[in-house]
């Protein structure tokens, strides 16, 4: 796999998914982990985890993936690939009034984001199947979920506390 191919793939994935966060994860898992096998599932998850705990835009996990595969050049290229489509904003701002009333575009976007939700759940289940391999992984998963979803803790704190808990439990259980 070449850098150009990776950049093109990420550019394309970013174009067909809308919004931030995990929307690109199903596509990346399918193409980089399953089909091409250039990235392991662990690497993808690690990239996602650090994108969650760093400030700024939530889709910089592509930066991490770019760095893992091609070093600093890869990081720059993949970051540019997700940044560039932002320039579509300029023609959009010009055609604002026309677009505001376009039902077709609205419904297309709604269909796309809804599909995206279904895909993210499908990927989540398949990743969970491979990640939650033992009791301790389940415990740390449940623990982090409660901290993040119900108690709404800051994600850095969540990650640190959960990792520390996993670290300690791992030695304690042995």
């Amino acid at each position: 796999m070449m850098l150009l191919e990776l950049t093109w793939l990420i550019f394309l994935f970013n174009l067909i998914t809308f919004g931030n966060g995990p929307t690109m994860i199903p596509l990346l898992q399918q193409s980089l982990v399953n089909e091409r096998g250039v990235l392991t599932l662990d690497q993808l998850l690690y990239a996602f985890a650090i994108a969650r705990v760093t400030p700024g835009p939530a889709n910089v996990y592509v930066t991490s993936i770019g760095y893992m595969l091609f070093g600093i050049g890869g990081a720059v290229a993949t970051t540019l690939a997700i940044t560039f489509p932002g320039y579509l904003m300029l023609p959009l701002l010009r055609g604002y009034d026309h677009l505001k009333n376009s039902k077709v575009i609205k419904n297309f976007t709604r269909g796309l984001t809804t599909t995206s939700v279904g895909l993210i759940f499908a990927t989540t289940v398949s990743i969970a199947d491979k990640t939650l391999v033992n009791l301790l992984a389940w415990i740390i998963f449940g623990f982090t979920f409660v901290l993040s979803y119900f108690l709404k803790w800051n994600q850095i704190v969540c990650l640190l506390v959960a990792s520390a808990a996993g670290f300690i439990l791992n030695f304690w259980l042995k």
Partner: protein, 208 residues
């Protein structure tokens, strides 16, 4: 406008939209790029800087641009950086705003990725499956639930999302194809829904 600016002197210029200089523009977006909490965290900083403090934009303008940014295929905040960068600094402004927004995350992400390659050659890698990885999965689940909140009700949205789930999970369809299909399906089913709501409100198909 430009004539007024020259007459009014420096103090007034600092209040007007055109006066946000390149350096200021860059720093506003660096600050936004340092915000935690993804899109909404960034949005909060931009609102504070551009609407409340500098009054460079009205609340309505700000929200309209945000709504448009959500339509752009790419991160919404990336789209906002291009929009405001251009508005306050032309083409060069877009580069400054984007760079400012991305730079903090870019540096930190690379730092942490390097940490991973060090971990890879140590015993700590064996601890990842019981520390960082299940935690990352929990973050994905939380994000998925939040994204899906609007979809979890008896609606056409739910049917579409469930169909996408089934197509991907049970039949292993390519996600890219499913997304495009989903968008096109949206044009038809949501278009009909809107019409039925207006013309025949009693129709059962649209009942909630």
């Amino acid at each position: 406008m430009t004539e007024n600016k020259n007459k009014d002197g420096d103090k007034h210029i600092t209040k007007s939209a055109q006066s946000i200089g390149y350096w200021q523009l860059f720093m506003i977006f660096v600050k936004a790029g340092c915000a935690f909490g993804g899109g909404l965290g960034i949005l909060a900083v931009l609102e504070d800087e551009l609407v409340t403090r500098r009054q460079a934009l009205s609340k309505e303008e700000f929200l309209a641009t945000y709504a448009l940014g959500r339509v752009v295929p790419s991160g919404t905040m990336t789209a906002l950086a291009v929009a405001y960068g251009f508005q306050f600094g032309g083409w060069f402004g877009t580069v400054l705003a984007l760079t400012g927004l991305i730079l903090p995350a870019f540096g930190l992400t690379i730092g942490l990725t390097i940490a991973y390659s060090f971990l890879k050659n140590s015993e700590f890698i064996q601890l990842l499956p019981v520390t960082v990885l299940p935690a990352a999965l929990a973050f994905i689940v939380v994000a998925a639930i939040r994204l899906g909140k609007d979809v979890f009700r008896p609606s056409l949205d739910f049917v579409l999302a469930a169909a996408a789930f089934g197509g991907a999970f049970f039949f292993n369809f390519n996600p890219a194809i499913l997304l495009v299909l989903g968008g096109v399906t949206g044009i038809f089913i949501f278009g009909r829904e809107n019409k039925e709501n207006k013309v025949e409100p009693k129709q059962e198909g649209t009942a909630k």
